[in-house]
Symmetry: C3
Subunit: 158 residues, 3 copies
């Protein structure tokens, strides 16, 4: 089993089938050795799991859980991008950047804590290769009312 | 006539002169074979065409129209980036990513549908080379009150 | 003294120590000759200097000042990314893109002006190499209530 698959198993994480985009775009685009993964929402089994803004509809902890779901969806897409011919996520050289959008009521300012739900998981899975640049911001509204949306940029090994 | 120019003509789309930035930045930057196009707003002939949030000021359909205007502005800039010495937009290897910001009232959650105004057009123009990664999010406020803002990343042929 | 250090000195700008991320990510990631700098907030000496939305809590001018602080923090990180072995920020080939998030009350639409606080400074420091692509948007909420957050992408000389 690959290193990353083992890490996922130790964390009790099963990657879902890569989510299909809800619209006319593709889950990822490769350019050179970079993979741009489209914005992922807190959807599992075709249903948004955690919806609405923080703190009126969700707590910071639930927001972190939403960030984990988004990230796991992004990794499922990234695994697809790594291709089938062996290696899978072990082909990831580095997680370069994540963009994290947190649905927030006016005045909520703990987006960094919420985004850590994804950042901590990246480091738990990939170790140093999971250390990424990040922009985490709030927003008043997100697709399908997801509490969090995350896009990801990764570098593959050449 | 180039392939993409023909596609644009068949879609009855005339690219405007590349919009000048409203501020101290440039319309695009090339690095390697990537072109980063600055955020474009729903402006035509120096005037915002579609303003205010969805749904209180604009419908989803009007938002899609705003997304088309933003995208057409982005393509005008991208054509400039492709240079004058022949080829124009045919030099685009791939649309890599678009970032779509949709001015939204609290609780509006159909940003993906709005962004499809741009995504569908990319595929109509570029075919498979137009299939892009995407992040579409809501926001409460945008420059000059535009309903939509779109930035674009493209890869040029080497 | 390096060219850019001289420019900074002439502008009376002292780069602070590169800010440490407030969470589980890193200040920058290099991939190829690109450097992705994480979102920087208007923090100095461990304290947010300019907080809350425009215009209810801050003016456009104060927002521009916030954008300058964010940018200076980003340049401190970028200097770290340039490494210690000489050159420093002179190793920057080009500022490629900045993403500017402006905490805004509903209806505020002058994000471009606010973002110019950062854009003008980039051109003052780097000259033509500072001319960048940009996406400037509003948002209702930002980490630690900062008025502005800025992320930056730069290309280093090879």
């Amino acid at each position: 089993m690959s290193t990353i698959d083992t890490a996922l198993q130790n964390l009790n994480i099963t990657l879902p089938p890569a989510p299909k985009p809800v619209a006319s775009y593709v889950p990822y685009v490769k350019t050179g050795n970079l993979v741009f993964v489209s914005g992922q929402i807190a959807m599992r089994d075709g249903k948004i799991q955690i919806a609405g803004p923080i703190p009126s509809a969700q707590s910071i902890e639930q927001g972190q859980q939403a960030a984990r779901i988004c990230l796991i969806n992004a990794l499922a897409v990234l695994k697809d991008a790594c291709g089938g011919e062996g290696g899978g996520l072990d082909r990831v050289a580095r997680i370069v950047r994540i963009g994290v959008f947190v649905q927030s009521n006016d005045g909520f300012d703990q987006q960094a804590k919420v985004a850590n739900g994804a950042s901590d998981l990246l480091i738990a899975i990939f170790g140093d290769a999971g250390r990424h640049a990040r922009a985490a911001v709030g927003t008043n509204a997100l697709p399908l009312n997801t509490t969090v949306e995350i896009e990801l940029l990764a570098e593959l090994k050449t």
